[in-house]
């Protein structure tokens, strides 16, 4: 009897392998890579702004004051357009939002802000994704919650949605 079972074992293992392969091929894993810097200080970066009237953003600007959101966006990014009204609502509720415009230029950023609203206190232009890589972000949009001491508390991957507003506000209260 045991021998019979042993005979079919390789076949069973093979069928199991094929089943896993088919499952994974049909639904490839596409994990979001989380930044390892959550709980750690904002890494050093310094980005130019849109011009004299809009200063840029550096890690020094994030070290003092209350908690705030650092939103990575881009004028070429479609989900960022979906996110714009959510950021506007957060700003209306008193949240300070700084922006990092990834792989972007002043003209296109201005056009984006004119069309979709401008919730940002400061905007840094990250033309070579340096700040994005320094933060451990993998794309746009992403949003970091930074507390008053300059420690990254939360990373939100993908666009913030209306149903997340209360969670975000609660996280900001926790951080102060």
């Amino acid at each position: 009897m045991m021998k019979r079972v042993a005979l079919f074992l390789p076949l069973a293992v093979f069928i199991g392998f094929v089943a896993v392969a088919i499952w994974r091929l049909g639904e490839p894993g596409n994990p979001a890579i989380r930044s390892q810097l959550v709980g750690k200080p904002v890494p050093a970066f310094a980005l130019a702004g849109l011009g004299p009237e809009r200063p840029g953003l550096g890690s020094a600007d994030l070290a003092g004051g209350g908690p705030r959101l650092v939103n990575l966006f881009a004028s070429w990014c479609i989900p960022c357009r979906v996110e714009a009204p959510v950021l506007a609502e957060l700003k209306r509720r008193g949240v300070v939002i700084d922006g990092i415009a990834v792989r972007d230029r002043p003209e296109t950023i201005r056009a984006f802000l004119a069309e979709h609203g401008d919730p940002y206190r400061r905007i840094g232009i990250d033309s070579e994704s340096r700040a994005m890589l320094a933060l451990g972000a993998s794309g746009v949009p992403e949003t970091f919650l930074v507390d008053g001491k300059g420690i990254i508390r939360v990373q939100y991957i993908g666009e913030l949605r209306h149903e997340q507003i209360d969670t975000v506000l609660a996280a900001i209260r926790d951080a102060s």
């Binding site: 890579i33 890494p43 792989r103 070579e128 994704s129 340096r130 890589l133 320094a134 451990g136 794309g139």
Partner: protein, 123 residues
């Protein structure tokens, strides 16, 4: 994208992708690029990918190598931010140990099975 923008953009990309003047540094940078995973692609190294993010990561690798950083330090900079996922050469610790131990484990099981088969008396 209009033409007036496309041409400077191409020049910019070409400049970003220029090899380092020191051939040994360029070789070290390329070797490292092959073992760093592009975060937005399906299992491609940053050396093999044309994604914008891979281009930007290659620039960081070249700059840091050119500044005299050893490849291990450049890799550590990225692992610090993205975790072990970013490297195709996972460090031998924690749950990664399974990956390193599995071939030897299966080889040992195979050897035991084979030995038992050979030891059986012939009928």
């Amino acid at each position: 994208m209009n033409r007036g923008f496309a041409i400077p953009m191409l020049l910019l990309i070409a400049a970003a992708e220029a090899p380092l003047p020191d051939p040994s540094q360029e070789a070290a940078a390329r070797a490292l690029m092959h073992e760093l995973r592009c975060l937005v692609c399906q299992h491609q190294s940053i050396a093999d990918s044309n994604a914008d993010m891979a281009v930007d990561m290659r620039r960081i690798v070249r700059e840091r190598i050119a500044a005299g950083e050893p490849p291990a330090a450049v890799r550590a900079y990225l692992v610090e931010r993205y975790g072990d996922w970013v490297t195709f050469d996972p460090p031998r610790r924690g749950s990664n140990l399974i990956i390193w131990a599995a071939p030897f484990l299966f080889l040992a099981i195979g050897a035991i099975v084979a030995a038992r088969q050979f030891r059986k008396p012939r009928t």
